[in-house]
């Protein structure tokens, strides 16, 4: 197990380094100037000073290593300090990755936006899984029944229709026509009593349901295929032959075995829903990291975009690793050679 893990880690670290390099190089070598967005009235000397302060006149590799140091050493140290209250070294003069637009540290911006994204995305993923698993199991067990036909059709629609369109259709139906739910998400809203809690539930319903529907569509098809594969295996026949009821075969034997690939799938899907949330946040104006990325891109805020994209890459690599590990733990047949 340890050997297997270290082997996977051995691949993950270079992958991340290469990705960080690609992201840095792409953004750094591109024909774009951070001082280009500043007012035209700023004289040339001041412009040069600003470039100097941003470290733009250093050679490429030095900037890259500085960025790496800031991202992997300085920022984690800051985080530790904030959480534990300890002071490690000289925290005042430590260089930080700063946004060009707001001049505040990028990590602070991300931490400020993260809870909204985590709430919407996390909840939608859980709701999606809870919808998808029973539907997948039932449609496999009753293959070609009307339930299966309808379920397959809906899941086909679910992952063919882009989430921004589902979101907008929901806005047209439930907020423009029926005015049941607010069409935008108010991040400043504070839950303090029951009515305000109810408002929070109402404003979260639509974004969560849109993402949940999309996730459930993909997952239920996967679950169905996985159960179908198990239905005709020998151990099921054995269980039937010894007189077990269908219900207990399905829930105890088949479900456990068919959950193996599905759990891996769920772990692998976590990073993609973060990137998928970019769209949903834009539709419902949720003030999360997806929207932060879009505003960063629109205002050419390169440090912010670099850090956020790299954060997404870290998420993908971490969850790939996690999926492998979970699969290894759950399925003893896997050999770690």
């Amino acid at each position: 197990m340890l050997k297997y893990l270290s082997k996977r880690l051995f691949f993950a670290v270079p992958t991340l380094i290469v990705i960080s390099f690609v992201l840095f190089a792409l953004l750094d070598l591109a024909p774009n100037d951070p001082t280009g967005n500043l007012p035209q009235t700023i004289p040339q000397e001041v412009r040069e000073e600003i470039r100097e302060s941003l470290g733009l006149n250093k050679p490429f590799h030095i900037r890259y290593f500085k960025w790496m140091q800031q991202f992997f050493v300085n920022e984690p140290l800051n985080l530790i300090e904030e959480v534990t209250g300890l002071e490690i070294g000289d925290s005042e003069s430590r260089l930080r990755v700063r946004s060009w637009l707001t001049r505040s540290p990028v990590v602070d911006l991300i931490i400020e936006r993260l809870p909204q994204t985590l709430w919407v995305v996390g909840l939608s993923y859980i709701v999606g899984i809870m919808i998808a698993l029973p539907i997948g199991v039932i449609s496999a067990y009753k293959q070609y029944s009307w339930f299966d036909q309808i379920g397959t059709f809906i899941s086909m629609v679910g992952f063919s229709v882009p989430t921004f369109f589902t979101g907008l259709v929901m806005i047209i139906i439930f907020s423009v026509t029926l005015s049941w739910f607010p069409s935008t998400y108010d991040t400043t809203h504070v839950v303090k009593d029951f009515p305000s809690f109810w408002f929070q539930v109402k404003q979260m319903t639509m974004p969560v349901m849109v993402l949940a529907f999309y996730n459930a569509a993909q997952l239920s098809r996967f679950m169905r295929a996985s159960v179908l594969e198990n239905l005709n295996l020998d151990y099921v026949r054995t269980a039937r032959a010894k007189g077990l009821r269908d219900r207990s075969i399905l829930l105890k034997h088949i479900l456990r075995n068919s959950m193996l690939p599905v759990i891996t799938m769920i772990a692998l899907g976590v990073p993609t829903i973060f990137t998928g949330a970019i769209i949903t946040e834009q539709v419902f104006r949720v003030n999360g990291i997806g929207q932060l990325l879009i505003t960063g891109i629109q205002s050419a805020d390169i440090p912010l975009v670099q850090s956020l994209s790299f954060l997404f890459a870290v998420l993908i690599v971490t969850f790939n690793l996690l999926a492998d590990v979970i699969y290894g733990i759950l399925d003893p047949r896997i050999k770690y050679e």
Partner: protein, 308 residues
């Protein structure tokens, strides 16, 4: 002469029965799958509509007429008009042309890259490791953020070069180089299997060059999975393009695709929801029909399903 032709035709039908050609598989797959049949019909209709439609419905999509702003459906403007009085149907038809053109072009590019990398990795053992590491690396990239970044960085440069073709090329390239990985993996797997067959061994022993074996012996035998990849590729490219346009980082407003029309319609969602519904419906129907075709194809080539 005629008899010979008949004989040849008869022979090829016989061959088709024994060894179904990829096109036969497509036909059989579609014939036996109701959803795919409907999907193929809808997709053909959409393609024909955007190709022939602008020739029949000759209203200029960019013609502004402030006298008829934000109108609903009428005989004069079947799908209504937008906030500048432009005809929605004409915009939908021309937007569909671009959206489908992006879909096909990006699919071809990603298929080309995917097949090349997959076949080379499968056929040449030396290159297998590095190329598959490259594929894994691409799979670990955050694709949507990366695409947005690429477009942000190069949009202005390419727009200066040619306003219409520049952004088209940029988006096709962007989608193409971020979506070839699945194709490469599938093609590599199939190549590894076909490589071990006797006819490849025979060709190798006759001294046939690697390139010739790949193009003449391996590729024709892995056409079916490639076709599945192609259909999924179109669906993916259309969704990605419309997503980029919806986020405001795709096609510009004077050169709108379905995604851009939808993006422009969002601000008017309370006045004229139809401006969101039509483009969204067009995207969804196209992708849904293509996905149904892909589903049927996958069922047809998957031996486990076919044997049932």
């Amino acid at each position: 002469m005629k008899l010979e032709q008949f004989a040849r035709a008869g022979q090829s039908i016989q061959e088709a029965r024994e060894h179904p050609s990829p096109w036969m598989i497509v036909w059989i797959a579609l014939k036996n799958h109701k959803g795919a049949l409907v999907g193929a019909g809808v997709f053909t209709f959409i393609v024909l509509a955007v190709l022939i439609g602008p020739l029949i419905y000759t209203i200029d999509p960019q013609l502004t007429d402030t006298a008829v702003r934000n109108q609903g459906m009428s005989w004069q403007h079947p799908l209504g008009t937008d906030n500048l009085g432009r005809d929605m149907l004409a915009q939908m038809l021309s937007g569909g042309r671009i959206a489908l053109a992006v879909g096909f072009a990006a699919m071809l590019l990603s298929l080309g890259v995917g097949i090349t990398i997959g076949v080379v990795a499968g056929y040449y053992k030396r290159l297998d490791g590095p190329l598959m590491r490259l594929t894994d690396l691409f799979l670990a990239l955050p694709l949507l953020p990366l695409l947005l970044v690429i477009i942000m960085l190069f949009r202005d440069t390419l727009r200066a070069f040619d306003p219409e073709m520049g952004i088209f090329i940029l988006i096709v390239l962007g989608i193409g180089i971020t979506s070839w990985m699945q194709t490469a993996r599938i093609v590599r797997g199939e190549t590894l299997a076909v490589k071990e067959r006797e006819f490849v061994l025979a060709a190798t022993s006759m001294g046939t060059s690697g390139l010739h074996i790949i193009t003449k012996h391996i590729l024709p035998n892995i056409l079916s999975p490639i076709m599945v990849s192609a259909t999924l590729g179109i669906a993916n490219a259309i969704i990605t393009e419309s997503t980029l346009s919806f986020l405001g980082l795709g096609f510009p407003p004077d050169f709108p695709t379905w995604g851009r029309l939808l993006f422009d319609g969002v601000n008017f969602i309370e006045i004229s929801p139809a401006r969101v519904i039509w483009p969204g419906l067009a995207i969804s129907l196209t992708v849904l029909s293509v996905n149904y075709i892909g589903d049927a194809l996958r069922d047809a080539i998957d031996p486990r399903v076919r044997n049932e």
